[in-house]
């Protein structure tokens, strides 16, 4: 094909489905790569700044996140005792939404021996 024909053919070439599909795929790949790059950047930024929450945890001797303030055993997951989860009775059914999402603390049952981690 001559260059002139090729040029005019390019101008009138019909659109291709593969251009759309591969273009979409490319855009989405870029978006995901941008997400990865953003994660790296954000973590680096966070590492540079003083971690206010960590400092506060140390200063105030905190042990739990303030995420689930529905009940005491959901608010202080790591500190919750055996009783509070069954406060309405020994076979009490869970009635709190967060309670249904949260497992009893893994340090149960308490023991008189060292290293609660070895008791499970």
């Amino acid at each position: 094909m001559s260059p002139v024909t090729a040029r005019s053919a390019r101008h009138t070439l019909p659109r291709r489905g593969s251009s759309l599909a591969l273009g979409l795929l490319g855009v989405l790949l870029l978006a995901c790569l941008a997400a990865l790059a953003h994660t790296t950047w954000a973590q680096r930024q966070a590492a540079r700044q003083p971690h206010l929450s960590a400092a506060m945890v140390q200063a105030l001797r905190l042990t739990d996140l303030a995420l689930f303030t529905e009940a005491r055993y959901t608010r202080h997951l790591s500190q919750a005792d055996t009783f509070s989860a069954f406060q309405d009775g020994p076979v009490a059914l869970e009635h709190l939404p967060a309670g249904s999402l949260v497992m009893p603390n893994r340090t149960f049952p308490p023991s008189g021996f060292a290293d609660a981690g070895s008791l499970r």
């Binding site: 094909m1 024909t5 090729a6 053919a9 390019r10 070439l13 019909p14 291709r16």
Partner: protein
Amino acid sequence: MLELTQVTKLYHEGQPNQVAAVSEVDLCLQMGAVTVLEGPSGSGKTSLLTLIGCLARPTSGRVALHGEALSGLPEQHLAQVRRSTFGFAFQRFNLITGLSVRDNVMLPAYPLGLPYAELVARADDVMAQLNIGHRAAFKVELLSGGEMQRTAIARALINNPAIVIADEPTANLDAALTTQFLDIVASLKASGKTIVMSSHDPRITRAQVVDRVVTMADGHIVSAA
């Protein structure tokens, strides 16, 4: 030369409804000629065409092109032969609905991996030759019967095959379109192509452009004038 030797094709082999569509056929097709297979419905014309065009393998016998056996080739090689040597225009056109005329015409050339501009130019040339270039962007289901037929033929010609096979090409066409079709056959013959058709239309079997008529009945060749 395309040669068929003692070719038999059984459908539903080994089952109670087994049928011999083609039975011990010997046929020799000359290159550059126009051959028509004629006979009533069920005589085996379409089955023989599918064997010639390597769309099916014979149950027994041999199909050879220039001495090389085709029937025993592995599928990948057979596909390559189908692509490069044969162009098939089906009775019911068998166009891919939902695709445009141009897309349908270009389909056989996709596996060749040609540059897009080149392939589009090729398709446009073939469509222009068959006078359907103005419908290039139309979906095939919007075409008339004659336009569909010309699209099917254009698709069969896109890879510049040496052998063009057409199954009942004028079954759904009127007299004017049949004449148009015969003109296309004449120009293909003039360009050196071999044409094999099946038809029970006397306008085809008695056409001047036809070199040979092979009569079939019950899967056998009755006469080969």
